[in-house]
């Protein structure tokens, strides 16, 4: 059954071609929901532009007609970010899938929104380079993930992927196209600096301020020597202390710990007790180098850190990663790592998280509080800590499978996550790629000046509030 208005569809078809715009419900359905508990909302149209000019024309038209527009590529996020809260147009950018440039001399690449991780990694590997590969299906968009502060496997060395952004091209909600960073002055896309950081108007905004149509990102050479070092711990505090000590040395590509529940494949659903003799925490750290000697030095330093941590009372337990898991961590992006089988293989289709950036010192405290909440709701505390480069802060998140067939189970998952965010925000927890529920909690605690500035910028860039409306919880 068609939705929306024929006149609007006709105009959209005139812009992108008849085959690339639809208002049929059977076509719109996949764009109405995602993995999460966020309530489905049907768009009225889906449009698949191929060129920047087509994006401009769609946005100009939508702005004139005051029709909401939701930028979309694969919707593999688990925050409900592409669900069209107020209907309107889903702007599916999958056809814009060119890798425009890989500059191996200056170490950056320029990509369009539809470029998948699989596509990008293949081309980079051909020339001996890599990017920060995260935990997601290979079909996920590199541009969307990078713009929304997605994490990659080099986060211990460089930080999160948005810190790799070197330039961008954006279409504003009113239809103008702008270049930001070095590409504003030449065809070099190497740096946002030393210019005013206007890229910040579009990074982390969840597509509410414009449509990024090209992104420059730094790329890095693949180091030929890699190893994965593992250690377990009896409790979250021991694990966190060890992680901070190790990341202090800035020798690893990544340092991550997972709770027993997240180490199970799939995560137990509903909640199951951990066997009493199993460690509660398992960690891996990836080290890399240009020679075996460099790798050996890093191994030696790691062993010293483990010894020192034990001396300081950390209850660490030796354990070896299974070979498949080790391969998954060194041969990225990986089907094994990116697969939802790790999380929600057979639980009933639902997956969501409170995914946050949180100071490391608060990880253990929040973990214990979250455990209570999760167990009360029948959910496994399947938690991950990852220390990012920068200050000692990083990912604190709980992967949460749930059963979408059962409204009560959905309610429990949603409620548990809201309760965790409510507790966490006061302790420095900032959710990333957050659903509207979390924004509502966050904004209730936010500095009024911060909210005012967000609103002013949003009003300025998007005067008719057409871009992904409702997503920031402010308009």
């Amino acid at each position: 059954m068609p939705r929306g208005v024929d006149r609007v569809l006709k105009t959209l078809q005139e812009i992108v071609g008849r085959d690339y715009a639809s208002n049929e419900e059977a076509i719109l359905m996949p764009y109405s929901f995602d993995l999460t508990w966020n309530e489905p909302r049907m768009p009225d149209y889906v449009v698949m532009p191929k060129t920047v000019e087509e994006v401009q024309r769609v946005l100009s038209f939508a702005n004139r007609e005051r029709i909401p527009v939701v930028p979309y590529v694969s919707s593999t996020n688990i925050g409900g970010l592409c669900i069209p809260e107020e209907g309107g147009i889903v702007l599916d950018l999958r056809r814009m899938n060119r890798i425009i440039k890989i500059d191996t001399e200056t170490h950056y690449a320029v990509i369009e929104p539809g470029v998948s991780h699989a596509q990008f990694s293949r081309e980079l590997k051909k020339v001996g380079f890599e990017f920060g590969w995260g935990v997601h299906p290979a079909s996920a968009s590199v541009l969307a993930m990078t713009l929304q502060h997605g994490i990659g496997h080099l986060n211990g060395r460089f930080g999160v992927n948005s810190q790799f952004i070197s330039s961008m091209e954006v279409v504003l909600p009113t239809g103008e196209v702008c270049k930001i960073g070095s590409c504003a002055y030449s065809d070099e896309w190497h740096s946002l600096l030393p210019l005013p950081m206007l890229a910040g108007l579009f990074i982390g905004w969840l597509g509410t301020t414009g449509v990024v149509t090209k992104l420059g990102v730094w790329i890095t050479r693949i180091r030929p020597y890699k190893d994965v070092l593992t250690i377990a711990a009896e409790d979250a505090e021991s694990m966190t202390k060890y992680m901070v000590m190790w990341r202090d040395l800035e020798l690893c590509d990544e340092i991550t710990a997972v709770s027993w529940w997240l180490a199970q494949i799939p995560i137990p659903y509903p909640y199951q007790e951990k066997p009493p003799d199993a460690p509660e925490w398992f960690s891996y750290t990836v080290i890399s180098g240009w020679s075996e000697e460099e790798l050996e030095y890093k191994r030696k330093m790691w062993k010293e850190v483990v010894a020192k941590a034990r001396q300081k009372g950390c209850k660490l337990i030796d354990f070896e990663y299974p070979p498949e898991a080790k391969r998954g961590r060194t041969e990225l992006p990986s089907r094994i790592v990116g697969s939802t089988k790790n999380y929600s293989k057979s639980c009933g289709g639902g997956l969501a998280w409170p995914g946050t950036f949180t100071p490391a010192k608060n990880w253990p405290i929040l973990y214990e509080k979250m455990k209570e909440i999760y167990i009360k709701h029948g959910l496994s505390p399947a938690t991950r800590f990852t220390d990012y480069r920068g200050a000692h802060y990083g990912m604190w998140r709980v992967m949460t499978p749930f059963d979408k067939r059962n409204p009560e189970a959905v309610w429990h998952a949603r409620q548990a996550m809201r309760e965790v965010v409510e507790v966490g925000v006061k302790a420095g927890m900032i959710p990333y790629k957050p659903p509207v529920d979390y924004w509502n909690v966050m904004n209730a605690h936010a500095d009024p000046g911060w909210l005012m500035l967000l609103c002013k910028i949003k009003d300025c860039l998007d005067p008719n509030h057409i871009m992904n409306p409702g997503k920031l919880g402010i308009r």
């Binding site: 059954m1 929901f33 699989a118 293949r122 697969s339």
Partner: protein, 422 residues
Amino acid sequence: MALPLSKDVARKYPELASLYDHLMMCTHCGNCRYFYEYRPDVNLSAPNCLSGEYFYFDSYTASRGKNAVLKGVLSGRIPFDEKAAHVIFACTTCMACREMCETDVKDWLNRLFETARREAWKNNIGIPAGIKKWSEHIKVEHNPYLEKHADRFAWLPADIRNSLPKKAEYVYFVGCTASYRQKNIALATVELFRKLGIDFTIAVDGDGEWCCGSPALRTGQWDTAKELAEHNAQVLDKYGDKVITTCAGCFRTLIQDYQKEAPEGYKDVLGIDFNMPVIHTMQLLAELIDKGEVEFQELPEFAGKVFVYHDPCHLGRHVGVYDEPRKVLNSFKGIKVVEAERSRQWSWCCGAGGGVRSGFPDFSLWASKVRLEEFKELGAEIVTSACPFCWRNLDDASKMFSFNLPVYDLAEIAAKAVVKKK
């Protein structure tokens, strides 16, 4: 967000609703949307879904899209209308998406899509005209090619026909495509068996071989498929101890649908008792090569040519036969063999199966065109396969789009080149 099964919808589409629990194991993650494999020796990244690449929208793309449509239907959020049916029928059920799926919906994908098609038939929703065209004919004449059953074995020379034993070790199940269209493959297979001294026969009598039922099963016409399967199950063991096929579609149907329970097969629907061993000709040849009982002489017309093998989905992804055809191809003398990057479980489907060839001819030929472009880029000069239906689609596309790439069934070349040693 909850997507509970709508009771009203469940009453309307009970067979689809019975699969709701399996459908809901799909997380909507999108793993299925792309071939991807990386190891130190492999760097594969390629589109895998024909319908997603041709019709673009997410609904068409891999199992995530089609499952989303079915979730929408079963939860009562969208109607099962013509457009939903278009999404469901415009898929070759090649199961490339299944190769990438890691959730518990994986084994049920084929059954889900075919059950949705059955519901479309029962409720007369959006059946493609090209499929409707043969749906009555197949019931009467036992083939989807609008041909007479009496002509099924017209390709078979009278002397050979008359010499066929009443019962043999193998009964060669020819299939409709080789009987009515790719007679070259049927003739080559008979020649091959005779050269090899295989004890075989063909169910040529009036009550002999009928369509295996694959076209009907794949397009949701299960009542028709049941009639065909019941007939074949009753007659085939009168002719032989084992069944041998050259058609990948017949092979899948006889070895899985006739014999296995859901989700892999349709024994529950067909309700037949069929336990005959079934092999594909490539499996027999590979076994004989392994035993050192056959070899192939160099054929001058192929000397130095670059060959490539196209994996039929029903032989490869559906049943797991990848090595045997390659063994046969690599045993041919004086040729070069190249392997497409999208091969074995990562193969790009030819576009013929699942009712797409009859229902969506342009889409179907486009898929073969994409495949041939891939082969041409690889430097292939001769395309081989092990399925008359793949042969037909690839050959049509080769001619239509002027690729000048000859297509052969491996059985055709084997028949010309084979030398029996023992």
